[in-house]
Symmetry: C2
Subunit: 278 residues, 2 copies
């Protein structure tokens, strides 16, 4: 039985989700809540059937998917009060989970399941949307005691149907993990590129192999994408940065000491291979 | 007029060079100097015409290409004394240049042009050799006052013919540059993966997007490849690590300060884009 999905924020992630649930036969109607310009693009691309204001879209939806910046999601949550159809699932795509889940819990009568699809592209925007974006990618759900177990199971089934590799963890565990696997690599890439930017004058040829391209790929991300993430995960990010600084200091001390540095390379290689053999 | 090339060390780089100069019509004969097992593989793959001991191979060669580890190149240089045909070009593929060039200058009567092809693959070995390996990749030459200008021009022409993007700089400038664009990213990727290895127990699922795969790709490199590089470039590597540590410390202090952190992201993004738009 196909359902109506409301996508609040029709960008790369929201648009891809709309395409994916439609292609999987989960949704027969997708309502977008976004700016008129975005809705018009999304309609012409066959991504949404209609664009409506939040107040008109939510009461029609069996599944509400909030996919905007973290602060926009936090701001929209209280506005859902009294609008959500009984039994409808409300979830989101925010990149940190504690702040969002905490706010959702403060909205009376709202049952909510936090989510984080770990997929993306270098380019953002609804024009980049693809039904296959989530295939084979991790999608973390962070239900709490205030979530409905049946809904968690239903949502998980739907996400698996669109090809995502779902897993369930607490908002706390999620934020601790992504601080290290996502936010730290971003900050590192940014610091490396900023450091090299200082060293290499514009006229100096930067001789570089593919390694530097990999290492600076994330440095291309605009701060606008990262501001909310870093702000809502600052404690875990600081812990992760401090642990890395410690490892780097240690590495600096053992440069030239073959056995110790070789051991660090071995540990690093083991982790890198484990990551690839999951 | 096709020439005879001696490749000392027939691995990924040496084998690819042999294939490339043959395909470009530069060489009509390639002699390999390597272990019997490697020579036999290289012969069966059509990469070398013959395998000979150094003492027999060098006197026949119009171009000598030393492509082994840095210390192996350093060890072989004095053995070239008196073997090189008058007018023959001697060059190498070592990843750092000061130590190698210094040693070459100490060998009486040897004219030498240091080189560094910035190309590679995740897998090493002669089986991985490809004629196209150097196409579109930087190839730095580091001649000194002891090099022969005509030979530099000839070598440069040959390298351009096999598709490399050649540039000339001093051994000092080369080592300073690669400390930052190659050795630093390697150490950073190693430190990141080692730090995460400490944090994530084997049983914990590591949730990760493509960013972490990019950031840990270099961490898969074996220490054996890096030991000589780091040892022969330790002063520049330490400077580069220190500059990065300073940037990371600054970043840690400005986490949560939007304007300052945004500025760092902007500088980093500018460098990353400049790197891609060369």
């Amino acid at each position: 039985m196909a359902i109506t999905v409301a996508v609040v924020g029709v960008g790369l992630i929201g648009g891809s989700f709309a395409l994916a649930v439609r292609q999987a036969g989960i949704a027969n109607r997708v309502i977008g809540v976004s700016s008129p310009a975005t809705i018009s693009k999304a309609q012409s691309l066959g991504i949404v059937d209609a664009g409506l204001p939040l107040e008109d879209a939510i009461p029609q939806a069996d599944l509400v998917f909030l996919s905007a910046t973290i602060h926009a999601i936090i701001d929209v949550l209280p506005r859902l009060h009294g609008l959500v159809k009984p039994g409808a699932i409300v979830t989101d795509a925010g990149s940190t989970k504690r702040a969002i889940v905490r706010r959702a819990q403060s909205v009376e009568g709202l049952t909510f399941i936090g989510g984080h699809p770990m997929a993306g592209k270098e380019q953002s925007g609804v024009e980049q949307a693809e039904a296959s974006l989530f295939q084979g990618r991790p999608w973390v759900l962070t239900p709490t005691s205030a979530s409905n177990d049946d809904q968690v199971g239903e949502l998980r089934d739907m996400l698996e149907q669109i090809g995502a590799d779902t897993m369930v963890m607490s908002p706390e565990d999620h934020d601790a993990a992504v601080a290290r696997t996502s936010h730290l690599p971003q900050l590192l890439s940014t610091a490396l590129a900023a450091s090299l930017d200082q060293h290499f004058r514009e006229e100096t040829p930067v001789i570089a192999g593919p390694g530097l391209l990999d290492a600076t790929r994330l440095a291309q991300s605009p701060f606008a994408v990262w501001r909310d993430i870093l702000e809502t995960n600052q404690d875990e990010v600081l812990d992760a940065v401090d642990a890395l600084l410690e490892t780097l200091q240690e590495q600096r001390e053992i440069l030239g000491r073959d056995v110790a540095l070789g051991d660090q390379f071995d540990c690093a290689g083991a982790f890198a291979r484990r990551l690839r053999n999951r």
